[in-house]
């Protein structure tokens, strides 16, 4: 069965610190992987996606994610967090033409 696990419900980091959000997936076919962010009062915004090729993908706002097939993971990273990064982050998996499966989300708090 297809599923996505985001083991961290909530993370707090200091501004300027590095960040890693974990995502593990279970998917029967070759996965397309996504990270979305939802800021308060906003819709879901696509940060980055992986289809094939280089397993380290760059996204917007300085985020990157690394696909590790052997670990079924697609962790999101940022070297230095800004206060504006406080939001909820969702990992999702899908395939060509079909629905996405989302994780339960990780809420990020950034402290000064």
């Amino acid at each position: 069965a297809q599923s996505v696990t985001q083991p961290d419900i909530h993370i707090t980091v200091s501004e300027g610190a590095s960040l890693e959000l974990r995502c593990n997936y279970s998917y029967g076919a070759t996965p397309y992987l996504f990270w979305y962010v939802q800021s308060p009062g906003q819709g879901l915004q696509l940060l980055l996606k992986y289809f094939s090729g280089d397993t380290l993908v760059q996204g917007i706002k300085g985020f990157e994610a690394e696909f590790k097939r052997s670990q079924s993971s697609f962790n999101l990273r940022k070297p230095s967090v800004h206060w504006s990064d406080a939001a909820e982050y969702f990992c999702a998996v899908g395939s060509h033409g079909n629905q996405f499966y989302f994780g339960t989300g990780t809420s990020l708090t950034v402290i000064p």
Binding site: F34, G41, L44, F90, S95, F102, T104
Partner: protein, 113 residues
Amino acid sequence: EAGVTQFPSHSVIEKGQTVTLRCDPISGHDNLYWYRRVMGKEIKFLLHFVKESKQDESGMPNNRFLAERTGGTYSTLKVQPAELEDSGVYFCASSQATGGGAFFGQGTRLTVV
């Protein structure tokens, strides 16, 4: 270019009433998706339109939910009659090419009391 727009942003209705949510996708996007997030849980797929046709409606919870996309443009999602467990945030998304990631609206927060 306008993004995906959803109306209303919030709706509070009583159990047994009817509510209709609307989604305007990005112009030219053939694919339109509805998702729902119940509080504290994951965002779950409801259904997928390709133009005006339902491509996949496997996620629709029951026959109280009816989605339409007349003319392949905007879509509506009607809940009739609403139950308490229907409360949540309903997201609409659209994409031009399938599998490429989708653009999401800001969601409609539905509260059934």
